[in-house]
């Protein structure tokens, strides 16, 4: 029973990591206006206003925020788009 449970847990964890192993991170910079960053998040990712502002504030107060997760190719596309908007963004592998 115990063994079965442990196996189940491991499998679940592995699945989550396998599905969304990469992240798009946007970093704070002293230049971009908060209203601009939030507008970019809404327009590009299609986040509702509240979510976009929550992410923007997280970037502002914590220095960075994960704005998307998914496969590497998709994350690179997002980062390219963010660079197009003038935001500082990076791709990184999700921490396990």
């Amino acid at each position: 029973m115990t063994a079965t449970l442990e196996q189940h847990d491991t499998a679940t964890t592995t699945n989550v990591v396998a599905e969304e192993p990469w992240r798009t991170i946007v970093w704070d910079d002293p230049v971009n206006l908060m209203t601009y960053v939030s507008y970019v998040f809404r327009s590009y990712f299609g986040y509702p206003r509240e979510e976009a502002e929550r992410l923007m504030l997280r970037v502002h107060t914590e220095g960075r925020a994960v704005v998307a997760t998914g496969n590497r190719e998709a994350m690179e596309r997002h980062v390219q788009a963010m660079h197009g908007y003038g935001l500082q963004a990076t791709v990184s592998r999700a921490e396990t």
Partner: protein, 164 residues
């Protein structure tokens, strides 16, 4: 400068004094030049085209190899459009009226961002609210930086009005 909504349509209307238009045109031309001629180690270019990986130089280079041309093209195009829209004939003293639809407005917003990133690098804006180390040489750039932020903020108020 006046930034207002467009009558009966999405987008934004910008009215610039001839002097402001000339300044913006000149700045847009400079942004275009930085993108065209910028040395690889120009820190301003580093702000416009940052590394995509913080801890993986080879992936960063690969990413740059595939994306750089198209990013530079997009940014140059935005700068050139602003430059052309704000071009004023010598001796022409009238105001310049510019109408932008949603997509054209995005071009302006991203240009203004790139412009501010370059100016910030040139005057050494590292920390928010850091006003130390102001040199006379930097006053013009700093004023342009503040003004570009004001234009962008005004555009956003029209394009993305909040309830408050």
């Amino acid at each position: 400068m006046i930034v207002a909504g467009r009558s009966g349509g999405e987008g934004v209307r910008i009215v610039l004094e001839a002097e402001e238009a000339m300044l913006l045109s000149e700045l847009a031309d400079q942004v275009d030049s930085v993108l065209l001629l910028g040395e690889a180690d120009d820190p301003a270019l580093g702000r416009l085209l940052p590394n995509a990986y913080t801890d993986d130089a080879s992936s960063s280079r690969e990413f740059a190899r595939y994306t750089r041309d198209s990013l530079v093209d997009g940014k140059r195009q935005a700068a050139q459009r602003v430059r052309d829209a704000t071009a004023v004939e010598d001796g022409d003293d009238t105001v310049v009226q510019i109408e932008l639809d949603q997509s054209e407005a995005w071009g302006w917003l991203t240009f203004l961002t790139d412009l501010r990133l370059i100016l910030a690098e040139r005057v050494g804006i590292i920390e928010e609210g850091d006003d130390a180390a102001d040199e006379t040489r930097d006053d013009y750039l700093r004023a342009a930086y503040e003004w570009a932020g004001f234009v962008q903020g005004s555009m956003l108020e029209v394009l993305d009005p909040t309830d408050s």
